[in-house]
């Protein structure tokens, strides 16, 4: 399978006087059309990595190539068009705009790209929403629907522009377990169907089991990475249980 996102020696540090190194020389390739879970304890740098992959933050050094295009340098605000066309975001918090209805929120990326959507796009949005189970909420405002429904709306918004990559940061983190799994089910199902690449940050090892590939970050470095199918579910479980991480250096 082809690679869609390639990072080489990627580092990220914060602060001017006292530098905090959050990501240290990350090198990894994400497969096109696959579901990769990025796991790790809090503070391990997994969200930072996801934000860099989503062109929401710049790497301090190293290389970032998405679909053959080099994004290692340049300002975050210059990549807004690329984000709009090719990337979909789902965050822990839904980040819907409270001023817009559910349907309008789903259609926002289309509006930004192409102006007022045509009938076909409306139908597409409604189909997407009914597949995710929120079509009956189309005229409601985000404040009027439940957390699970809000997150489903965010998923529909992330998928409306047929993105190449969907980046999800703890998308079920704010939901109770049952709702969380239901939302996850919908999300992974839809993404598989569309053949979109999914990169998801989670600290939940059970969720990580549903992924095709797992990358574990500890202290800003890749501790281990593996393909779930190749290892077998039982071995993966022990791998995920194993909290030790020995770096070679």
């Amino acid at each position: 399978m082809a690679e869609i996102v390639v990072v080489k020696d990627l580092t990220k540090s914060y602060g001017q006087l006292v530098k905090t190194l959050v990501l240290k020389n990350i090198t990894y390739s994400f497969e096109k059309g696959s579901f990769t879970a990025v796991i790790g304890p809090s503070g391990s740098g997994k969200s930072t990595l996801l934000n860099i992959l989503g062109l929401l933050e710049r790497p301090t050094s190293g290389q970032l190539i998405i679909d053959g295009q080099d994004f290692s340098r340049g300002e975050v605000n210059d990549y807004s068009e690329y984000r709009n066309r090719h990337l979909g975001f789902i965050f822990q918090f839904h980040y819907l705009l409270p001023e817009f209805t559910v349907l309008e929120n789903v259609l926002l990326p289309v509006w930004i790209e192409a102006g007022r959507p045509e009938g076909a796009i409306y139908r597409k949005a409604l189909e997407l929403m009914s597949a995710i189970g929120i079509s009956q909420l189309k005229d409601k405002y985000p404040a009027e629907i439940s957390g699970g429904e809000q997150q489903r709306t965010a998923i529909a918004r992330a998928l409306i522009n047929d993105p190449r990559i969907v980046l999800a940061d703890e998308p079920t983190g704010n939901l109770d377990r049952e709702t969380g799994f239901a939302v996850l089910e919908v999300m992974t199902g839809m993404i598989r169907e569309l053949g979109t690449t999914l990169i998801m940050v989670t600290h939940d090892r059970e969720i990580a089991l549903r992924a095709e590939r797992v990358v574990e970050l500890v202290d800003g470095r890749i501790c281990r990475s593996f393909v779930v199918k190749e290892e077998g579910v039982e071995r993966v479980k022990t791998l995920l249980e194993d909290r030790r991480c020995v770096f070679s250096d």
């Binding site: 929401l56 807004s80 975001f89 705009l97």
Partner: protein, 402 residues
Amino acid sequence: MIIRPYELYIAFRFLVKGRFQTLLIFGGVAMGVAVQFFLNSLIGGLQVSLVERTVGTSPHIIMLPREAYPTSILAESGQILDYRKAPVVSDREILQWEQYLEWLKKQSGLKAICPVASGQGFIERNGISVAVAIKGVDPAQGAVIYKFNKNLSSGQALLSGESVIVGLNVAEKFQLQPGDRLFIRNDRGSGAFFTVSGIIDLGSAPANSIVFMSLERGQKFLSLTGINMIEVQILDVFKAEKLASAWRNEFSRVNIESWQERNRELLTALRSQSTSSNLIQFFILFSISLGIASVLGISAIQKSRQLGILKAIGVDNRGAARIFLIQGLTIGLSGSLTGIIVGYALSIFFTEVLGAATFDLKLEAANFIVPAILAVVISSLASLSPARKAARLTPIEVIRYG
């Protein structure tokens, strides 16, 4: 600058959903424009009325014989000083007045040009003798300047032969009625009988002490061969001084005075009124702009979360900035429009319903166009800072810190 539809859409939605704040700024702009419109109309109207009362029924520019100019005090026979000669003399008359009249007739912007024979007379009746001003005027032109027909309080405006129009004060003093005859003596001691054709009220005591007669009769009565004044009324009273100074360059043998020169106190008063009105308006504008800037600023902070999300899903810096500029512009435009309507209503209410003004308000386009344009410009300027903030915001600030 091409505005993309989504920018308009999001800006309007922010305005509609932020009802309270929108109403606050909108109300501020509307009120500001309304008050300015009203104040401008009020003060403008007051000034027009004052000027009209001052110069409405009097000439705006007058041409007079040359004032004192030096002459030789040498005796004609040689280098001996002749102490009987005055060192300066002044012309009593404008002798070539017809030439001036011809020249003036070719000028544009003039309403009336009236040759005048002016001087003093004494009315004698019932043993009293009172000094009055005598004005021999061209009947048609004089009627325009002094608005004979409008200001006539009784009788008719007839100036021919021995018919005269007398000012109200004169008429009251001598209990004159139209048709009455009166004897007027000139400053040389001779006199004549005249018939009162009409009584006129020109609004001020000096003007109401004038006796008008025809130019020819006036010349004869005052023993003038020419005339001693040309009175001019112009269309735009405020151009009087400018015209007068242009004419001064043209003619050196006559003295030219504008009404502004003769009414310095009034002008100073009008000017200070305008200054204080401008000052008040400046502070109104200033406080409105502070209000708009602060409310839009707060709104920008409140909306920074939404902006962060919008930027994450594809709104670029320019788009983010424009969302705020559009909001400022929209509030400026709609507030101004409402302000004009409210200001107009306020003016009508003030004059028609309350009947509070003894003069007409000056309801002219400049009175609302200027504050409206200023309000739009200020609202747009006030939205610059939030727009700049919106452009600089990066989505991660919102996503990381919520």
